[in-house]
């Protein structure tokens, strides 16, 4: 009893406010103006507020209905395994379509943007909570009969339009619907809003989708090309690094050098190589060297007020902000920083003796504390703000005498000594100790929390003895990054009788 004509079944997966509704309306309008009976429906509800939502469209040729003398009964929701086209406005939504069984290898064409809009769980992780893009892409490719995927958000931005226009263009480009390009474009015209940029985005997407070759991701790993510096001292450092390291480790060490000459001076970068040499004396190559090289560079370039002021005042930064906020040539831009230096940061920036005195003092300490109780907004683009920050950045010359430097230097030396100590007997554990630097980051409260967690882990590996293994330390580090209040870490430490 199968009638020959079948509805075309299209599911659209989008996030609330991402234009899924516009896209569905376009497809309906396109169908209705070109000899089709169209039906669409959705369940927006609370998902309108940033949640994931599905729109479902069916198109049926009016001529077939006329011939049969009956109206088709169109469905209000997709049946898994019975969908011709799935449009997804983002990569994880494409994954969701696969998860829901809407994309099947026997018939579904999946048209999806490959950019990511991160889910809240990915965003709030204290470290890296992102889903793996490659897994999602592989999933989309494996599940679909045909996968048309590229960064449509970027394409939309390039044509000054919205992603729905790019998806609509890609849909037209695949030639899956029985409508001409002109019919598609007429639909956008009838919409009446932002027609010109939409048509531009549509056109580019149409071309792109109709000539899209299967995506390949062959990344050849080339040998490290050695950079050159006109400065003899820096050049000597580069050559010294090249002699001692190779491959991935060399890449990291060169980045470390680049960071540290920028952060302080060539002498400081030389100290970096000296420190690395000590570790290298024990283990050559391997993961440990790489991790120490990475984390040592990061620790030595700890973020103090001097560094922040330096980065904030650079000309390249002003350019970047202009670009990021999309200030047009005729527009003026002012930049306001949100800073909250507290007593601690002020003392940290002082010469060590003075800083210690201030922290231990009575009235001066309270006075500074009161002064620093509120955050301040510094307008870097004003003369006053700029000069103040430039002055701060200029304290770089005396950084080695600051209280903060003394503290950080002590921690770095202790950390290196422990890596050194362990690396002989258990290089894997030493690698994990190196990685614990990752816990110490941020500013203010965040930095204090990081230090606290680091101290807890440190006493754990010191007291753990033979029970402390690389796996356990990695697990504890994950626990430290699981929540802000240290609950997971406390539980984990207790569980292993290390608390």
């Amino acid at each position: 009893m199968h009638a020959k004509a079948q509805p075309l079944k299209i599911a659209i997966l989008a996030m609330g406010g991402e234009g899924g509704g516009v896209l569905a309306d376009w497809i309906v309008d396109l169908g209705e103006h070109n000899g089709h009976i169209a039906q669409t429906t959705s369940v927006p509800g609370v998902a309108q507020r940033t949640g994931a939502t599905i729109y479902y469209v069916e198109l049926f040729p009016a001529a077939a209905a006329e011939q049969a003398g009956a109206a088709p009964v169109l469905a209000l929701m997709p049946l898994p395994g019975d969908v011709d086209i799935v449009l997804a406005s983002e990569l994880m939504e494409a994954g969701r379509a696969v998860q829901r069984g809407l994309v099947t290898p026997d018939r579904t064409t999946l048209i999806a943007s490959t950019h990511r809009v991160y889910a809240i769980a990915e965003k709030i992780a204290m470290g890296d909570g992102r889903a793996d893009d490659a897994t999602l892409l592989a999933l989309a490719q494996a599940a679909a009969r045909r996968f048309v995927g590229y960064d449509m958000a970027q394409a939309a931005e390039q044509s000054g339009s919205v992603i729905s226009a790019v998806i609509f263009g890609s849909l037209a480009g695949t030639g899956l619907l029985p409508f001409t390009r002109a019919q598609f474009e007429a639909t956008i015209g009838r919409g009446g809003v932002g027609v010109k940029p939409s048509l531009k985005a549509f056109g580019a997407a149409f071309e792109h989708a109709s000539h899209l070759a299967p995506t390949t991701s062959a990344k050849a790993s080339a040998a490290v090309a050695l950079p050159r510096s006109p400065h003899p001292e820096v050049q000597a450092l580069i050559e010294r690094a090249a002699k001692a390291f190779e491959g991935a480790a060399l890449t990291i060490v060169l980045e470390g050098l680049r960071r540290l000459v920028d952060y302080q001076d060539p002498a400081y970068a030389a100290l970096y190589l000296d420190r690395l040499d000590k570790v290298r004396a024990v283990v050559r190559g391997g993961e440990l060297t790489l991790e120490v090289a990475r984390h040592l560079a990061l620790w030595m370039s700890y973020e103090d007020t001097i560094r922040v002021a330096d980065l904030k005042t650079r000309g390249s930064r002003f350019e970047r902000v202009r670009d990021e906020v999309k200030a047009a040539p005729g527009q003026m831009l002012s930049i306001n920083e949100y800073m909250h230096p507290r007593l601690q940061e002020i003392a940290d920036t002082m010469p060590a003796g003075l800083g210690r005195w201030l922290l231990a003092s009575g009235t001066p300490r309270r006075w500074v504390e009161r002064l620093a109780s509120k955050g301040r907004v510094v307008r870097t683009s004003s003369l006053r703000g700029y000069l103040m920050l430039t002055f701060l950045a200029g304290l770089r010359r005396w950084r080695r005498s600051t209280l903060r430097f003394v503290h950080e230097n002590g921690r770095i030396e202790a950390w290196l000594a422990e890596i050194h100590h362990v690396s002989d007997s258990d290089p894997a554990l030493a690698t994990e100790i190196a990685r614990c630097q990752r816990l110490v980051k941020g500013y203010g409260d965040t930095h204090e929390r990081g230090l606290r967690n680091y101290a807890l882990l440190r006493s754990a590996w010191q007291r753990g003895g033979p029970r402390m293994t690389a796996t356990l330390l990695a697990e504890l580090r994950q626990a430290a990054l699981a929540d802000e209040h240290g609950k997971a870490l406390a539980t984990a430490l207790q569980q292993h009788a290390l608390a």
Partner: protein, 710 residues
């Protein structure tokens, strides 16, 4: 002013005889009301029927032309009680709300209405918020229809059937002197389709006539002895009248009734899903021409005994497709078959899931097992791909729960609560219904219970004893006016509570689509707005009231909350947090700003940004915000792997990011950019001078770094 404007759609309400209407289901209902000669419409907004309210609000001139009165009711109870106008007078009236939550609120009025019965047609249009996309408890409106004996229509989800159901509903109501409930599922409300219109009808009898010629009939009022008579009248007169009308008008439909000795009974609302499934199984075609007999119950209640017996006559077995639980219809049909001496086997929840939405896959599985059981399908028939062809880890495809919009003024309230929590410890938080309920989700994770709209404060009523901490309640402005003023605030005054209630005043009922309410700030040409919540709160006797006018001011927000939680003064504490819903604000302001820029006026646009080179990727800022515009991106630093925070283009510059950075002492990575369009000559002069000095210093710094760079 509602979130969506229906100015274009409203024109469709004027279509005359024989024209074709294209549009959404719920708008078709609105048109059907006009074609039915309705005299008044009342309702309370809520998905999926908000658009019905919005379109009527935008159609005031058309309503006036047709002599129709439209009320934005204070609550669903008000809307249902409004139907009292149809008790004594031959006035057709309709009330609409979200169900079952709205029906819960309305049930007192509905029960009174149904007891005395009606003279003019009374139609209750409920948007059944059940299944995917629903935001409420999963229950059935069906129970209300049964308990109050209100007839329940559940039409096939296509526009002609829905429109016809509205018209039949009024006729049925008048023929049986009983209110009629029209139930539309979410997808049916939002379905886009077509139907051929009829001419609009002015009401035959007007409200003015009723007011000027009052009629009274004590026997229609619910007080003994009339109430005892009402119950008898329901079963002895109104029910038989309804059954007769339903049969004569043929409201329920039979398809291929005699074609087989098995059949399927289905609620009208699930018909399309069933037909698609039968088509996939090869026993029907795309036009719904089926080999398996179907009995489509467009009237879900009452069940018509004679029709059920007629359909089952000579059939070995029938399958009942009844969504939701308890399985009222199945129980009813089982009883009819048993009493009627029928031997037909009845299947239903044995082959279909007991609970949950009847999705296409569920109905497919149920229909397949039914057809296989009776040999209409080979046992091996599979139609679609296996349902779980790909193993997908939960970390790969993560949930994307709803959250506060970009720049939402409610977000800083919860940020402040988080910060106060750091100082005073965790508190019991009684949540309410509205956008603010998103606080229970990440990143805020605040809220212990929610007991219903406007009941945030009431939900903490028992936690009113001497303790070292106070309970916190949250209530929206919508819930406040709906009932929270009395059920929560006045209740707290009367019972001498010391607890804190935070009233979130964003000028609209935002979660339902931004409709105006009493305290809305904007002038509304047809409604009275501008009534301050603080006045009402003080009016019922609260002495400790603090209004925070700009919720983004975290320091003040925090101070108000902390004071309320630590104040020595006894009696309820109320903090009113006022800032306009950003969605509505942007919709209003964006075009104005665009025009101003085009006209060459000086306009300052603000937005936030993050310096990736100072961000260390801890994401504390996101954990205190959750703004969609505050996200993460890959770390541009080759030494780091954790993604950095980033502000994307959708940022509206609400200011919270900066406030959080200050209040929580987070990090100096945030900056606020002010972009000035059409700067004045004075602006340009200043820029020139600053540019020279700053440019020179920057060039000097760059030159120094360039010496070492490689």
């Amino acid at each position: 002013m509602a979130e969506r404007s229906f100015v274009e759609e409203v024109k469709k309400l004027r279509l005359g005889q024989g024209q074709v209407f294209h549009g959404e289901g719920i708008l078709a209902v609105t048109k059907a009301l006009l074609e039915s000669g309705v005299a008044y419409v009342a309702g309370y907004q809520g998905a999926p029927i908000s658009h019905l309210m919005d379109v009527l609000a935008d159609a005031q001139d058309i309503l006036a032309d047709h002599g129709i009165h439209f009320e934005n009711s204070a609550s669903e109870a008000t809307a249902a009680a409004t139907l009292a106008a149809s008790v004594n007078y031959p006035l057709r009236g309709a009330a609409t709300f979200k169900s079952t939550v709205g029906t819960n609120v309305a049930s007192d009025a509905l029960a009174n209405l149904a007891s005395g019965g009606v003279t003019g047609g009374a139609l209750i249009i409920v948007g059944e918020d059940y299944g995917e996309g629903s935001s409420i408890m999963q229950e059935r409106s069906h129970a209300f229809a049964m308990k109050s004996q209100i007839w329940l229509l559940d039409p096939r989800p296509n526009l002609p059937s829905i429109v016809q159901a509205v018209k039949d509903g009024f006729d049925l109501s008048e023929a049986s002197h009983t209110p009629v409930m029209l139930q539309l599922r979410i997808r049916a409300c939002h379905v886009h389709g077509q139907f051929t219109t009829s001419a609009n009808r002015r009401p035959a009898y007007t409200l003015r006539e009723a007011m000027e010629n009052p009629r009274r009939d004590t026997s229609r009022i619910v007080l003994p002895p009339a109430s005892f008579l009402h119950e008898k009248e329901k079963v002895q007169q109104r029910w038989p009248a309804a059954v007769k009308f339903i049969q004569e008008r043929g409201l329920n439909e039979f398809f291929s009734e005699q074609d087989d000795d098995i059949g399927v009974i289905v609620q009208g609302g699930t018909y399309n899903t069933l037909v698609r499934v039968l088509e996939r199984l090869g026993v029907a075609d795309v036009f719904g021409r089926t080999r398996i007999p179907l009995y489509v119950m467009n009237v879900a209640y009452p069940v018509i005994d004679a029709e059920v017996l007629r359909f089952c006559e000579g059939k070995r077995a029938v399958l009942l497709v009844e969504e939701g639980q308890p399985n009222f219809i199945e129980q009813n049909i089982a009883s009819i078959l048993r009493s009627g001496g029928s031997t037909t086997a009845l299947h239903g929840k044995d082959m279909l899931p007991m609970a949950g939405e009847y999705t296409a896959s569920e109905v497919l599985a149920g229909a397949r097992s039914f057809l296989q059981r009776y040999g209409r399908l080979a046992a091996s028939t599979t139609v679609t791909a296996p349902s779980e062809p790909f193993e997908i880890a939960a970390t790969t495809v993560q949930a994307r729960p709803p959250g506060f919009c970009t720049g939402c003024p409610e977000r800083p309230i919860f940020t402040a609560m988080k910060l106060v929590e750091r100082e005073l410890g965790e508190h019991h938080v009684s949540a309410d219904i509205g956008c603010h309920l998103f606080s229970i989700l990440p990143p805020f994770n605040l809220g212990n219970t929610t007991m219903g709209y406007g009941l945030g404060s009431a939900g903490a009523a028992a936690l009113n004893v001497k303790a070292d901490k106070r309970a916190i309640s949250v209530m929206g402005d919508g819930g406040f006016w709906h009932n929270g003023l009395t059920s929560g605030i006045a209740n707290a005054v009367f019972n001498r509570s010391d607890n804190l209630t935070i009233v979130v005043d964003n000028s609209y009922t935002s979660a339902t689509g931004g409709q105006d309410i009493l305290s809305s700030a904007a002038a509304n040409p047809t409604r009275s707005t501008g009534h301050a919540i603080e006045k009402a709160v003080r009016g019922v006797g609260v002495e400790w009231v603090r209004t925070v006018e700009h919720t983004y001011d975290l320091a003040r927000m925090k101070a108000a909350l902390k004071d309320a939680l630590t104040s020595k003064q006894s009696g309820p504490k109320v903090v009113i947090a006022r800032s306009e819903c950003m969605l509505n604000k942007q919709r209003r302001e964006k075009p104005i700003v665009r025009q101003a820029v085009a006209a060459g006026k000086r306009v300052v646009r603000e937005r936030f940004g993050i310096d990736a080179d100072t961000c260390t990727g801890d994401h504390s800022c996101i954990r205190l915000s959750g703004c969609p515009s505050l996200t993460i991106k890959p770390n541009p630093d080759p030494l780091r792997t954790d993604p950095v925070a980033a502000v994307i283009d959708s940022c509206v510059g609400c200011g919270l990011c900066g406030e959080v950075a200050h209040a929580a002492v987070l990090c100096p990575s945030f900056y606020k950019a002010q972009i000035v369009s059409n700067p004045t000559a004075w602006d340009r002069l200043g820029e020139l001078v600053r540019g020279k000095v700053i440019g020179w210093l920057q060039a000097r710094g760059a030159a120094r770094r360039a010496r070492f760079a490689f």
